[in-house]
Symmetry: C2
Subunit: 452 residues, 2 copies
């Protein structure tokens, strides 16, 4: 094959489809590993659904905005082998969960606790911080007919475990209950559609101030008379005790009171899970998806980086799978938009890619005659659970050590004839620049000791 | 919302897009974890590429059969937000690797050792054992201009580490070198196109016997005169020493000899990696992709399940990214078709889904007044790295224990007032049916001891 006759394609990035360097991917993967470990610690089991669902499933709930973002599959070639007309890529992990729970209803054990860490796709117009392909990390606890409020109380413990383990700074979990605001507005006499407008505008306070809300109220019947009360309640936040104290002075009907009682129960038990007080606030101003959540709602912020917005959100819903099965399946869950979070952490310098190497040790081969010995040394390190690479190319030691530094190895093992004759071996701590010579048989133990 | 007015969609599986039960997924995930750990043990670093590539990238190399299998993206909605015309789902991880290495050439450190465990999509007509969506686990070592044969020798050590760790039975890695057969046929005077036909038919011997090869030879000029020699060489297999002995008696020109020498070098060093002798054979009959591999080639079989075919294959190629960059990038790699392997292992009963629970312990709540205590006990277990679930619903102990058994927990902790009064706690080993009562403070230690 003559390379010069090839019609070359110059590759370039695709907007909205992120691709990380090996060093960055290593950090992202560590984050996923930690999130997964936290989920498993609380007994959430992994499931995976295909990237593809039937269009009837994805559009069952409707919503034009969502449908506009759906990527359908079609054969590239006119004689495509795959019958593709009816399938599209999933745009979240909630619809697939609902479909999964309905489809496998008889085989699943309830309450069903699952986590799902997968890519999802949304055909959005690309803009800063928006991705068309991204990884979501979701957990849900789904009941068959009923689900204890204790599940709602456990979720903040999981969030707390996740973000303590990710170690990306102090965080605050904001908790509210959907029934508080909807009950309050209902009690004030607002129709459901008007209440939806008020909540949508209240959701903008943090970024745009109270003007949009005030304008909306101005346009609604009875809106102006309630302005002060509404402004007050949507800006009620603080410690659980403070907020519950304030709410206890308000008499706004049955649904409102139910929301307050549920919120009190959630906080009471959340404390039993040992969540640090500084990690939790009550915040009646958080809104979340109006057509989905029906009870407890959660948002999570990094204290030092409020501009990142909520990095972990979710809530309680009455009925997960009503579009797929005639059976009430209440649940509670949260979602971490990992790709967005990770890219923001990178940009803000909160995490950074170190070395690209997943191995801690490079066994160099300065002397070709000692190749077999180098391989044997690497095998002994691997046998001691140390990730180890061997440098195979014949080149001088300086270049091999430069490779080790560029790729971010912690140690370089340097097999030299004069050391091996005395059953000794030299290794260099590449960060510290220190060199050590130890007995050959002690090397795996010595390296393990230095690593831990 | 009145549930009865909902237009329900009854979900059903999509042919070719596998979906496992929670118990099965747990096993699949453990397999992926072990494969990943083996890859990392040898210093392969993770990368991930988008599911989507430009059509120009995916079709750069051509091949109508491949193109027929490509799934393109298109907006489901006429006013789709995503500009999708030019993108398709990747059908393997090799084209994305080539594109990645070309695109990021200046930032990567060579030799570049990467692993990639991702879904790929192929619009094949669904049939037994064929999937349209499946997970591949790939490793490659890619050099900049050159790559030592030691890399070829290390690959069997990685394969060996993977399959020892998967613990799915005895396996044999078959190794050959592409140059041996192509050199041999060239030396016999066959044109390249005729040689390709011979190799294609020789590849069928294991499943269909020698008839297709004999027929093909019958139709080629000089085919009949070479029949015995060709039949002999493509059926040459055995221990490396035996096969190299046989090959050393054959004089078939330069390319043939180069293949034999390379194979000898690979076996010499592979032995230094400590691979067990019974796990490796030389097999001149293995063929692999004709238009890609140029040197060493690998196949792997389970000794007790030859019907599964090769479960891990790969080889050496001269030039990974010739379609994307004008620079020779030789490499060597292997791929495990995980979804196919896993589904076959399930079918053959070699692996089976146990419990669906990723947690080892269920803390039951037989007494509602002890809920706070149950939560505290669960937290202490989680603090000791024991995956723990709490049973939240108020129901009698018998039902809670049945839930624990159905979901496959190893232990159920049973907090009872009379035990807790004496600072004791009861737990049941659900497999053995044994019950233990221990000091409350000893519980995490006791459970950890029983688990290990």
């Amino acid at each position: 094959m003559c390379a010069d006759r090839i019609n070359r394609v110059t590759p370039s990035p695709i907007s909205g489809f992120p691709e990380w360097s090996p060093a960055e991917r290593l950090v992202e993967q560590q984050m996923i590993d930690r999130i997964r470990a936290s989920f498993e610690r609380f007994g959430f089991s992994p499931i995976e659904t295909p990237a593809v669902e039937r269009n009837t499933v994805l559009t069952a709930k409707g919503g034009e905005e969502t449908e506009r973002q759906i990527y359908s599959l079609t054969g590239l070639h006119p004689q495509s082998g795959g019958d593709t007309r009816d399938y599209s890529l999933h745009f979240d992990l909630t619809v697939p969960l609902a479909r999964y729970v309905a489809q496998h209803n008889n085989e699943l054990v309830f309450p069903f606790r699952r986590y799902q860490i997968q890519k999802v796709w949304r055909g959005e117009r690309p803009q800063h911080g928006r991705f068309r392909e991204f990884t979501q990390c979701d957990i849900d606890i789904v009941g068959d007919g009923k689900l204890s409020l204790l599940a709602d109380a456990e979720i903040p413990a999981v969030i707390s475990n996740v973000f303590n383990s990710l170690d990306i700074g102090d965080f605050t979990i904001r908790i509210s209950n959907r029934k508080i605001l909807t009950g309050y507005l209902d009690h004030l006499g607002f129709a459901e559609s008007d209440a939806a407008i008020i909540l949508r505008e209240a959701d903008k306070i943090e970024r745009q101030g109270t003007d949009p809300l005030l304008q909306a109220l101005d346009g609604l019947e009875n809106g102006n008379s309630a302005t002060d009360d509404i402004l007050a309640i949507v800006q009620t936040s603080g410690s659980p005790a403070e907020v519950l104290d304030i709410l206890s002075t308000i008499d706004s009907g049955e649904r409102f009171q139910q929301g307050v009682d549920e919120l009190a129960t959630v906080f009471e038990h959340a404390a039993e899970f040992g969540i640090a007080e500084e990690n939790v606030t009550a915040d009646i101003g958080i809104i979340r998806g109006l057509d989905y959540y029906t009870g407890t709602i959660y948002e999570t912020r990094l204290d030092d980086h409020p501009q990142l917005g909520s990095i972990c959100s979710g809530g309680r819903y009455d009925d997960l799978a009503s579009y797929f099965i005639r059976k009430a399946m209440p649940g509670v869950g949260i979602s971490i938009g990992l790709t967005r979070l990770f890219s923001q952490l990178l940009q803000a310098g909160i995490v950074e890619g170190g070395g690209a190497s997943v191995a801690q040790v490079l066994v160099t081969t300065p002397d070709e005659s000692l190749l077999a010995k180098a391989i044997e040394i690497a095998s002994s390190l691997r046998g001691a659970d140390v990730n180890t690479e061997i440098f195979f190319e014949q080149t001088r030691l300086g270049r091999q050590l430069r490779y080790a530094s560029r790729k971010g190895f912690k140690f370089a093992v340097i097999p030299l004839p004069e050391d091996l004759e005395r059953e000794q071996i030299k290794f260099r701590d590449l960060d510290a620049g220190e060199e050590y010579t130890v007995a050959l048989s002690d090397l795996p133990g010595e390296i393990s000791r230095h690593l831990s």
